[in-house]
C-alpha cells in the first residue's frame, strides 16, 4: 500500500485516532437519554396528546437547552457516520471530498432549521 501517513495523509481520511470513535459514543449516549426524557413526558400526558401537551414539552428553558445540545450532538454524530459511509464506498478522492462537503453544508443547514423551530415554541 502507498504511504498515507505524515504529510502523505489523504485529506478525506479519518482523523486516525480515538476522537471520533469516542465522540460517536458520547453523542449517542446524550441522544439516548434525550429519547428517554421525551418519551417519559409523552407517557405522562393523560388522554390523547393534542397540540398544547406536545408543544408544552419544549417550552421550559431546560428542555430547550437540552434539545439544542442534542441537535448539535446529532449533527456531529451524523457527520461521523456519513463520512464513514463515503470513505467505505466512494473511492475517487474528488467525488468523496465533494460529497463530504455537501454533507456538512446539508447538516449545518438542517441544524439551523431545527434550532429555529425550537425557539418558535
Amino acid at each position: 500500500m502507498s504511504v498515507n501517513f505524515g504529510s502523505k495523509r489523504i485529506v478525506v481520511g479519518a482523523h486516525y485516532g480515538l476522537r471520533d470513535w469516542l465522540a460517536q459514543r458520547v453523542t449517542a449516549t446524550l441522544m439516548a437519554l434525550f429519547t428517554a426524557v421525551v418519551l417519559l413526558q409523552v407517557l405522562l400526558v393523560r388522554g390523547p396528546i393534542g397540540y398544547a401537551a406536545w408543544a408544552g414539552i419544549f417550552v421550559p428553558q431546560w428542555m430547550k437547552s437540552l434539545t439544542f445540545a442534542v441537535i448539535v450532538a446529532l449533527t456531529y454524530h451524523v457527520w461521523v457516520g456519513m463520512r464513514d459511509i463515503w470513505m467505505d464506498y466512494i473511492k475517487p478522492l474528488g467525488l468523496r471530498l465533494s460529497l463530504q462537503v455537501a454533507t456538512i453544508v446539508w447538516l449545518v443547514a438542517c441544524a439551523g432549521w431545527s434550532i429555529q423551530v425550537l425557539w418558535r415554541v
Partner: protein, 147 residues
C-alpha cells in the same frame, strides 16, 4: 494419480472482494452481520429523511394551525401523497430509529463490558433484531389504526 484425502474438511466458498451482483445473493451473513449492515442502512435512511423529520417537528410544534396540518397529512394525505404513503415513511423511520438505537446500545454495552465473545455477539444480535422488529410491528399497528 491423485490420492484421495478423506480427512480434509468439506471445501467452503472463500470470499475476498465481494462482488455485489455475483456474490451477494448467495452470501450468508451471521446475525451480527445483519445487525451491522442494518445499523448502517438505518443511519443512512434517517440522514436522507432528515428534512421530513424536521418538517414533522416544525408543523407539529409551531402552532395549533400547523398542528392541524400535521394531523391532516397523516389522516387525509398531503398533495399527491396519500395518508398511507406518509404513514409508510413514518413507519420506516420508526424501524430505522429503533434498530439504530438498540444496535447502538448493544455497541455501548460491549464497549463497557468488553463482551466480545462469539456467543454474546450472536445472542445479542438476535435480541437486537427481535426487539427492533417487534417494537416496529407494535407501533406500526398503532400507526395504521389496528388497535
Amino acid at each position: 494419480m491423485s490420492t484421495p484425502h478423506p480427512a480434509l474438511p468439506r471445501k467452503r466458498p472463500e470470499f475476498r472482494n465481494i462482488h455485489a451482483v455475483r456474490d451477494l445473493p448467495s452470501y450468508r451473513l451471521p446475525p451480527a452481520g445483519w445487525v451491522s449492515i442494518l445499523h448502517r442502512i438505518s443511519g443512512a435512511l434517517m440522514f436522507v429523511l432528515l428534512p421530513f423529520i424536521i418538517w414533522m417537528f416544525d408543523t407539529s410544534i409551531s402552532s395549533e394551525y400547523s398542528f392541524a396540518r400535521f394531523s391532516s397529512a397523516f389522516n387525509n394525505g398531503m398533495g399527491l401523497v396519500p395518508a398511507a404513503g406518509i404513514k409508510l415513511v413514518a413507519l420506516a423511520l420508526i424501524w430505522a430509529y429503533l434498530h439504530h438505537l438498540i444496535a447502538g446500545l448493544r455497541h455501548l454495552y460491549m464497549d463497557v463490558q468488553h463482551a466480545v465473545s462469539k456467543e454474546f455477539g450472536r445472542s445479542s444480535a438476535l435480541v437486537t433484531l427481535g426487539l427492533s422488529l417487534g417494537l416496529t410491528a407494535i407501533l406500526g399497528a398503532k400507526l395504521f389504526g389496528l388497535y
